[in-house]
């Protein structure tokens, strides 16, 4: 244990809505550091991978400064995520981060976090997945993580990174939730981009995690132990074992669904809607939202009316909200930074009359999405619509 945390504990709503803030010209990685500085975490565990590394260097600085009591580098992502699991099981508030190939390397651990009801917060600085080797921004890893049981928040800006990461700890730890939260940010596009962010300037931090209040027992031999069962159901082929596993999977998903009210309380609606009456609406998440905002501006100059839905929460998927917001849309454009088009698939799966969806443009491999390209797709969609 290093120096004592010099910050005063305040509840999350104070931190998000009342604490004084000041504009700082910082990168997304620095925004993560500033969130973690005030998150009162017990331990952070790191492993290098571009473009995530810088974030965990900065969290290392927090360790050196005394804001994080324990910090070390593990041997690979699977090990790190397992170390994170052990730390959470033993009653700690834990933070880690990874991306792309690191996410894939650690993959087996993520459903285990959810199944073990661990309130871990992990930042994913999304990047492409090999082969061929790439280090460029791409959100393909999110497609893989959709069914891991974790809550998934997708940041558009460094400001989102700051607020989402801070709120993630408390949302994850709510007694009726207590599952991991993945905070996703598009690698480089936000992590390495410097922009103005409102950062809390008061000497305050989140209240400490209370493992005694957790809905699952903390593994510390402080609560009375018990023999869990005489005849374990694990790996037994009988009705009880099937039901136990099936109902537990349902429970993990139910926990994610119960997180909605907490997310709304702290981060607002699960989707943000602009100009919902427009006949053409763009649905996007992450930095594709930013590119959409620019394209909508360009479209306006050409008298094309386009609305926007920013999907902040990918899991639990805001099905009802999206369906309601798109009820009148004639064309729905879904631009994405990956080849799979996972967001388009998610929306198509819940939307009646999903022939309205135009699932373009898709940019993958690391390039940016020029608003001009998006504008072309808008124009084409509008032309088809009027034909």
């Amino acid at each position: 244990m290093s120096k004592k945390n010099p910050l005063t504990e305040k509840p999350l709503d104070y931190m998000l809505f009342k604490a004084k803030r000041e504009k700082q010209f910082i990168t997304g990685s620095e925004a993560v550091r500033e969130a973690v500085r005030r998150a009162n975490i017990d331990i952070a565990i790191s492993y290098p991978i571009t473009p995530q590394s810088e974030t965990m260097h900065l969290v290392g600085d927090l360790f050196a400064e005394g804001y994080v009591p324990e910090y070390f580098r593990g041997e690979n992502e699977f090990a790190v995520m397992s170390q994170v699991a052990g730390a959470a099981m033993a009653g700690a508030r834990v933070f880690t981060a990874t991306c792309g190939p690191g996410t894939m390397r650690a993959f087996e651990v993520f459903p285990m976090w959810s199944g073990s009801r661990l309130p871990v917060v992990c930042s994913f600085m999304t990047r492409g997945i090999n082969a061929p080797l790439t280090i460029q921004p791409d959100t393909i890893e999110m497609a893989f993580l959709l069914e891991t049981g974790m809550i998934m928040l997708h940041c558009e800006t460094a400001r989102d990174i700051y607020d989402f990461n801070l709120a993630a700890f408390i949302i994850a730890e709510e007694k009726d939730v207590h599952i991991p939260v993945g905070v996703f940010m598009d690698g480089f596009f936000v992590t390495h981009t410097r922009e103005l962010v409102d950062i809390i300037t008061e000497d305050v931090c989140l209240p400490k995690y209370n493992p005694q209040a957790a809905p699952v027992p903390t593994i510390d031999m402080e609560t009375p132990p018990a023999r869990l069962m005489r005849d374990p159901f694990v790996m037994k082929s009988n009705f009880v074992s099937y039901v136990a596993h099936a109902s537990w999977q349902q429970e993990v998903r139910a926990a994610a669904a119960r997180s909605k009210k907490h997310i709304k309380k702290y981060l607002g609606e699960l989707i943000e809607i602009e100009n919902p009456a427009a006949p053409t609406i763009i649905v996007a998440s992450g930095t594709a939202v930013s590119q959409a905002r620019e394209a909508i501006k360009l479209a306006k100059e050409e008298n094309i009316d386009v609305g926007l839905i920013k999907v902040k929460v990918v899991r639990p998927f805001p099905k009802d909200e999206i369906v309601a917001a798109l009820s009148k849309a004639k064309k729905i454009i879904i631009p994405e930074f990956n080849i799979a088009g996972w967001l388009a698939k998610e929306v198509a799966a819940v939307l009646p009359d999903n022939g309205r969806i135009v699932a373009t443009p898709r940019v993958y491999g690391g390039m940016t999405m020029p608003p001009e390209i998006l504008l072309e797709d808008i124009k084409q969609a509008v032309r088809k619509q009027t034909q």
Partner: protein, 283 residues
Amino acid sequence: MSKRITEMCPALNDAMPTEYRELVENGPWLGDKTVKDLGTFKELLEEHPLCAGCNLALSLKIILSSLPNPADTIIVGSTGCSSLGFMQVGIHNIHSLFGNQNAVATGVKRVLSMRFPDKKKDVVVMAGDGATADIGLDMTIHSWFRGEKITTIMFDNELYANTGGQESGMTPAGRVAYMAPLGKKFPKINLFEIAKTSGCHYAVLLTTANTVRLGACVKKAILLARDVGPTYVQIHTPCPTNLKIPPEESIKVAKDSEKERYAFNEYVSEAAKSFLENTGNKK
């Protein structure tokens, strides 16, 4: 954990199962039990679903009876036959995935040292040879490199037993097994030697045949891990089911191996030696 925490709430006393009451009243909580005391106290594990004649089950029973401080001991297991036994053990234990036991234990140990600076929380890893030396080898060794103060115990049945008897890195060369239909092509991994050069302060190679010695070595390994550094216990636990040994002969097979690859071998680092001398626990 306070020894008192295991005391039964009087109001619940008649509502709790007899087994649990016995565990509370007569469990090995003071940590002063040895193998020789077996039968005089309520064991942390009395029933298990492992096979008749299972050497792993026997060593698990001995280990659990030899913990120096069971009231503050956390077990981290792994997937395999051993994971079938842990759920009935009367102390906190973790099963997360296959092979990541030393990584999970690292997280547990770091956090418990932080949360309870005035207590000694022992973290003991128990896993099979596949988990320790194959799929989890990097995490096993890296926990030693980092000097994590945990005890790693390997149940070495020299194959993957829970999946039906496949070759593992710990299988002796030449032995025919599933996935090695023409016999294993490379020698048994010498994890004992690796442990010595990777930061372990205590490493021991032994079998289930000498139960008193096994209990004493486990106790020593846990005490040294608590104060000095990583320790490693490798126990030969021949699998009667997959090796087709009659249950009543399985200990004999373990004993026979002491004449060759499982001759008792104990390594104690200089730091561990002086710790044992200073604490009067030279044995």
